[in-house]
Amino acid sequence: MKIRKPDLFQIITYPAVIIVFAIFISMLITFLIKSLPAFDMYGFNLYAKNVWIAAENPDNEKYGILAAIWGSIYTSIIAVGVALPLSIGYSIFVVDYAPKKVKNVLIILSDVMAGLPTIIYGVWAVFFLVPALKDNIMTPLYDTFSFIPLFSEPSISGFSIMSAGILLSIMVAPFASAIIRESYQMIPFKYKEAAFSLGLTRYETTKLLFGYIKPAVYSGMILAFGRAIGETVAVSLVVGNAFNLTANMLAPGYTISSLIANQFGNAFIYGHMTSVLYASGLFLFVIGLGVNLLGIYKLRRWRKNVEI
């Protein structure tokens, strides 16, 4: 009888798997350990209060990153809200209307845009998007709707939660539209035929079929949210970087990631700031992990259940 030899090829793939796991675990541990002093010092208030006093004497330092948490969530919600109709419209055009050649160009274009270095978006936004939004959107919004708390104060510089949200929407739309487009394209032709055979118009058919891929659209939104909340450089250029806890989206704000990016360089000067920033990172880590897991899980479950 032959003894089965160990599969060498299988074995040489182990290190790769182990390294990935080890990196993930070590990241989590690093963040936990580095955050501990901040938790000791400020407790849960670190996430529940809006205060940022960086004093030379460590006893006078006070930190609470609620405004940044709020800003992260606020900008990401704007991003998803604006990106959703964009990506749905783009997907429908690409799948249903675009001639074959145009279709490929459009798919490549959106894939390229999804992969562009984010600093490109940031710099473009500073010189083009923010001033354009200020003049054409933010000022009119304030002039007309200042009685709504969302637009209660005018934007002075244009650098604001809204600018960050819109910029993020532009950045995550290609990503969300890839998920939506792929799901829409996966719908078996027999359902399209069925809808048309009932005398439905193109619009009615599309609406009906989007009902079918709703779970995929949701997961696209969730994953886009995950991307938006983690985006750093571009956001820190346009969000205004102010600790504002406000519903007014025309006001400058902060996000967790831009807070870390802006403060980390000089955090070592202060007694507790480094640890506070690690604790902020931990928060983002957990949110990002949760959101992405949820989105991936929903998408997988839908793809498994989809009837072909």
């Binding site: 078996p188 027999k190 359902y191 399209k192 035929e193 069925a194 809808a195 048309f196 055979s197 009932l198 005398g199 439905l200 118009t201 009615e204 009906l208 009902g211 079918y212 709703k214 009837e307």
Partner: protein, 256 residues
Amino acid sequence: MKSLEYAIETRRLNISYGDNRVIKDVDMKIPKKTVFALMGPSGCGKSTMLRAFNRILELNKDAKVSGEIRLFGENIYAPGVDPTEVRKETGMVFQYPNPFPHLTVFENVAIGLKLNKLVKSRDELEDRIHWALEKAALLDEVRDRLKNYPSELSGGQKQRLVIARALAMKPKILLMDEPTANIDPIGTRKIEELLFELKKDYTIVLVTHSPPQAARVSDHVGFLYLGDLIEVGKTGKIFESPGSELTEKYLTGELI
């Protein structure tokens, strides 16, 4: 008008995909309130022709139709005819049972009615849905499961659900594209029995690749071969004494 004896009439009907002619100069008349079987080996163009009858063929951008198709005397390919109106009058049942998986049994039957605003009240909608399910011989099996999803139904039940979905629109013509091709024998028998009931009120065009099925259920039969209509006539006559050698070969299984 004499042509009104017929539910469907084609005149010099030609259909092509690009340069490939798949239906060639077909002149055919389908009498009202009968089952008309369109048979032929796979690839002969029968499904294509069926899809021209409700203009669903144009979902395929490569398909070109020329000639006339008259439904109750009216040319549906005349300029200005709205294909969605044609489709409302011609229900269709497909080879693969295709109820919408994200809609309940009830909603599946209701969807065409709702979106086309064919009913005025919730009561009318419910009545119509019960009526359609009854007509499709499915009501007794799903009475307690109207709020469930079609994934729970058997293939045969799904297919009858789709028939109910088509009937709910009260079409005049029912187009069926090999409706039993993917159904087990019991389900097939139920659907075939259903055809006898339905032809009292509807004109049914049934595409089939099975001569025995055509013999069992149809009143008239047309034999298509490579895009040519070889023969058309009363089912009994064609099966007893086919007028063409090709038909005879097909019926005896020599032509696949």
